[in-house]
Symmetry: C2
Subunit: 713 residues, 2 copies
């Protein structure tokens, strides 16, 4: 959509990550106060630049004389750490801006999270930022550059650590607790991070800003992040695009999926969204890799940061000396839809000459404990299967049975890592020097077979998205101001919030959506005449803006084959008993009876963070019971619509099931593309759209929408 | 089913776990050989009993003089560790039996896993065992009693460890690599095990034998196991029953779910089984807790071994000082269907007086960083919500923000652990003394919110199963030899493997299964007469033992409303073109047209390990597309049938969806009970049973089977 031509420049994080000089505004002499921590950690980890404590009362902090204001500092200041009480933050930031400070980390809390007054203060902060001082926070705990051991902020975890192992993962988290927790758990696992940025309330710099800026940095090969509220979906899209342009994966754990929720909604679509389903769809659509747990986030990040494991694909070969663990690995691989094809006959012949008689030559290949006595057996085996050229991933399954010769085993795996495009290891035993050696050589090691398979699935997902993306760019029709104007004019004349079906149809006609032939009748005679005109059989549908689900109140009568049936049904509908007195009947729709190959539900619902989301799945009255839908953010093209449908059981249904005819799937995908275009163009005019069912006819015969629900804003 | 009256006594594991004397048969003087390891580890970990090395060549092993045979040993021998080559194992075991040795651990490999010869040797081993010498193995690595630091066997992991932390978890694994790997990973996590038993090829003692024996031991509170092949489902059922009688959970990770597979099958049911679905159903049915990964197995075991976390239920209250992690916790709890109800008004009032203004009093309750300065804030908060009496589980969500005062925080949590029935902790930061203190006090600590929620779900599952079990015993009809005899006689007269529908119906009549009125017609006139007799509308169905899925070849014609339609349809079916010449047509079934409220598929398929499994789910032609089924092992009662149905979308469908009528659900469950009874009584006569659809009529109107497929063995 956005090709990047008019995008703002990527934020320069260097004043935060590699500042030459730092002011600490609110520096405290009391070592138990948060104001004392930034200086403590700068010194503890060996920061080499200039440090300027600032305190209006002056004094000496840990040997450094305090300036009474930022203005007083001699020379330039790259970064200010603000740890004052909330009331002093804005004046301090203004001082910083006046001084030409490039960036500020506002650790102080007491802003948007506390209510309207705090929100107003935070808005002022944003104005100061817009004038040039980039602000991280408020209500965050700063940044850590692990490569340069520079801590611009504080977190109690920093008390416990002695130093950092640095690496290529750039970590971003809105929540400081989550961010530092992830860093701590990752370091404990032997992972290496380049940077940690915590963004807090995001008055200025957002999660996506920071992720994007990290992605562009040479020392960062992977961005891993934890996000709660999405403040700028456009930058998040840009982050995803750059991720694939640069070949650097972005892994995200989304919080607040249980609370974000959709607003209470009258449609199916509303009831089916939620639980993070739209964010998950966003990730699939844009090529971000979503993690659903703390462990998965760390596993994926570790996988992507292991260069010799990066090219993981579907065709895997496992080599093991511990059969039981290999069985668990095979189970897990099957669950994640990896293949374990048997080696070819020629390879089997060579393996027979290499491995002991009791070895299993299927896949997984079980060397048995023979590998303990022969220190080249793994390498020989890997060379043989690698030479076959048909596998893309070598999986070494190691158990405690070889812990004694762990380093030898690890050396063999490292020596074999060039035989296949990708090598990964599951080592189901406590950590040891062998595992360290593998990690140091860029090979992914995860102790659990199931978590390894899941991480491999993340690697494959990234690679497949990249391949799909480079194969074909999205081909979206241009947005049309003309269509929008027509829709606005029409909607302004509709008095109710929920459109009657005939009104919905008029609206949809602007986007050329396919409907059956029909006439709105206000009396029995007109209904009969309309049915004769359309041709039998016909369906009759009660029309009222106040009735959402007509079927439930008996407001739909199908398959009327003659004039008498039409008259009887029209009479019953027009004089519908049992409805509340204040329900206004607009008439009955007389409609061509549409016999299709299958039914689909397509809806549009607004995600409060990401905008108009389109849902599709098997349709009809059972749509809500099936609960089998998936989402995409509008707009998108027909190919993306196909991906969307293939995430549901529509994948099987479109081919025709058990003798039923195949559907006109291309027409379905094209229609969903049109619906997505309509939904995106109506984003600020309409709250919900719901087509159920959309009837798909046989191959080549197109699709027809037989029931449409539109709810205005 | 089995009330335990005729069950064999539980195996006495004491010669394996607490032997007073041990013989090492095949003891080696070469420290690199496996034969040298048992003695090494007995000494390393401080075994205090008598050790007797045995080697036909005599000699001195590490200061001990070898006996040349077991017979030569003075005094009784509790346990023999056999580490000879395979060829010497049987003679050695015979010697042991003659000597009166009580148990043997056969570490040697080269038996059933190598082919027919090895299988025969293993069968002999079983005979020796039957005479009194209990055998663990062959092809295993023995046992570890962590409480007494007694290692009866070997594994290289034992080289790396200095000693053991013991605890209450009894660990059993068929695979030694997996077993020792789990022990190593668990010890690394701070878990405590009572024993590890590896069972290998299971010539005598099985996984279930060992699990059951561990369960009965006082020092064991939880049994955790990894199993591949199930050799004795009856003992596994007994293990499950004792688990709930004793209130000691059993957690199992099943391997080889991708390979066990069902035999190639003609029916829907066959295609829908596999991937461990039947084993999962078995666990749900019997009250075993299934883990789907190494991490989950350890998490569950840890959870069950934490006494102050054991009573976890659905109503939870979370208290945190780190909001971001609490958000992740809330998401994970919602996913696992826990509730986080807000505190009552009185509690809110008290909390307001206790917590700072910026605290969040919803659930999770966020104390903010105020807890850092006030060392009783957590306890005060927990006391208030505990006094409310409406929560069953307190969740402390701790982040790295309090790592500096981790011990203080942990002490507060320990002090609060009596306020609610259950207390659990997620502490998203590297391990530290605070976490050790919590574990030492019997409180579950898991570093990831998502894994904590999953472990809590395991706790709740065990507790709910226990409550359900004690509420009502299963009420199964007795198996009937008379029905079995009738069925055997009838089936012996059927020439083809797959029964024609009318034959299937005859068979089903033995169990009084409900079918529609019908007549088998061999010509057009008879078909018409039958239709007149039954009353219009009718359905016509082609009958041929060679045709499984009639719908696909147009062999079913529904809703024929008059004689002419019946004649036309009968003519077409009886002269069906397009079928292979050798397909024999038995006639057409003229059947009452059954209009129901909904359709269900019910099938029976043989699991190679667990026996006849019954499947149910939404039915009709879309059953295979829906892939929405669940399983139970036959026989079971109507209440269990209801549980089975409720694991699928039938849970919603039976209530009637969107204005459709409610189903006769009790009749459905009763019919499934009858089908399960039939399947279990036919277990050795029939391979597959498939009813699709079984039509459920409106509430009170019963159910009817309209299509039945039965395949003989």
């Amino acid at each position: 959509m956005n090709d990047g031509a008019n995008e703002p420049p990527v934020v320069d994080l260097s004043p935060l990550l590699t500042p030459a000089s730092i002011a600490i505004v609110g520096a405290s002499t009391d070592p138990n106060k948060i104001g004392a921590k930034p200086l403590k950690f700068l010194r503890k980890y060996g920061y080499g630049g200039a440090i300027h404590p600032v305190n209006p009362r002056g004094g000496v902090v840990d040997g450094l004389t305090c300036h009474t204001s930022v203005a007083e500092i001699d020379g330039p200041v790259d970064c200010a750490i603000v740890v004052t009480t909330a009331a002093h933050v804005l004046p301090a930031l203004r001082d910083c801006a006046a001084k030409g400070v490039r960036a500020a980390v506002v650790i102080s809390a007491g802003f948007a999270e506390t209510g309207p007054q705090g929100m107003a203060a935070q808005a002022e902060m944003r104005e100061i930022a817009a004038a040039g001082l980039r602000i991280l926070g408020p209500n965050n705990q700063g940044t850590v550059n692990l490569g340069a051991a520079t801590v611009v902020g504080f977190n109690p975890l920093l008390e416990a650590l002695d130093g950092f192992r640095s690496g290529t993962i750039g970590l971003v988290s809105q929540s400081s607790g989550v961010g530092f927790g992830l860093m701590g758990l990752g370091l404990e696992r032997g992972m290496g991070f380049a940077h940690l940025l915590t963004t807090g309330n995001e008055a200025d710099l957002t999660f996506a800003d920071c992720g994007l800026a990290l992605l562009e940095r040479e020392e960062v090969q992977v961005v891993a992040g934890a996000i709660e509220g999405i403040r700028d979906p456009a930058t998040l899209r840009r982050l995803a695009r750059r991720s694939h342009e640069l070949g650097k994966p972005v892994v995200i754990l989304k919080g607040a999926t249980s609370k974000a929720g959709m607003r209470a909604a009258a449609s199916h679509t509303g009831a089916l969204a939620g639980h993070g389903a739209v964010f998950s769809a966003f990730c699939r659509q844009e090529g971000l890799i979503e993690a659903d747990s703390v462990d998965a986030l760390l596993d994926y990040a570790q996988a992507f940061a292991s260069p010799r494991s990066r090219k993981t694909g579907t065709r895997t070969v496992a080599i093991t000396g511990t059969g039981g663990t290999a069985v668990l690995m095979a189970d897990a691989l099957e669950r994640e839809q990896f293949e374990l094809p048997a080696p070819g006959a020629a390879s089997i012949e060579k393996l027979r000459g290499t491995l002991p008689d009791i070895a299993s030559l299927a896949n997984p290949i079980d060397m048995t404990t023979a590998n303990l006595g022969n220190r080249a057996l793994f390498t020989d085996t890997a060379r043989i299967v690698g030479a076959e050229g048909s596998y893309d991933t070598l999986i070494a399954v190691v158990g405690p049975a070889v812990a004694q010769s762990g380093l030898d085993y690890a050396r063999q795996i490292v020596a074999s890592a060039d035989y296949l495009p990708s090598t990964v290891v599951t080592w189901t035993a406590p950590d040891g020097p062998g595992q360290d050696l593998l990690r140091a050589n860029g090979i992914l090691v995860i102790p659990s077979p199931q978590r390894l398979a899941a991480a491999m699935s993340g690697l494959r997902r990234f690679n497949e998205y990249g391949a799909r993306r480079s194969a074909a760019a999205a081909a979206l029709p241009d947005a049309s101001a003309e269509r929008r104007r027509k829709a606005r004019d029409f909607l302004s004349q509709v008095a109710t919030r929920q459109l009657a079906e005939h009104q919905a149809r008029t609206l949809c006609a602007i986007w050329d959506l396919p409907f059956p032939r029909q006439t709105l009748a206000h009396d029995i005679d007109t209904a009969e005449a309309a049915a004769r005109e359309i041709g039998f059989p016909v369906a009759l549908k009660l029309q009222s803006a106040q009735i959402g689900h007509k079927t439930e109140i008996g407001g739909v009568v199908l398959n009327l084959k003659d004039a008498d049936s039409v008259r009887a049904a029209a009479e019953r509908l027009l004089n519908t008993a049992g409805l509340a007195d204040d329900v206004k009947i607009d008439g009955v729709l007389v409609q061509e009876m549409v016999i299709g190959a299958g039914e689909v539900i397509v809806g549009g619902v607004k995600d409060p963070e990401l905008g108009m989301a389109i849902m599709a799945g098997p349709g009809g009255t059972l749509a809500e019971v099936m609960q089998d839908v998936s989402f995409r953010l509008a707009p998108f093209d027909a190919r993306e619509a196909e991906c969307l449908c293939n995430e549901t059981r529509l994948a099987a249904l479109v081919h025709g099931v058990r003798g039923r005819p195949a559907w006109d799937a291309p027409a379905l995908y094209r229609t969903i593309e049109r619906i997505a275009l309509m939904a995106s163009e109506l984003e600020d005019l309409v709250d919900e759209i719901d087509f159920n069912p959309l009837i798909v006819r046989r191959d080549g015969e197109g699709v027809v929408i037989v029931d449409a629900l539109v709810v205005k804003i």
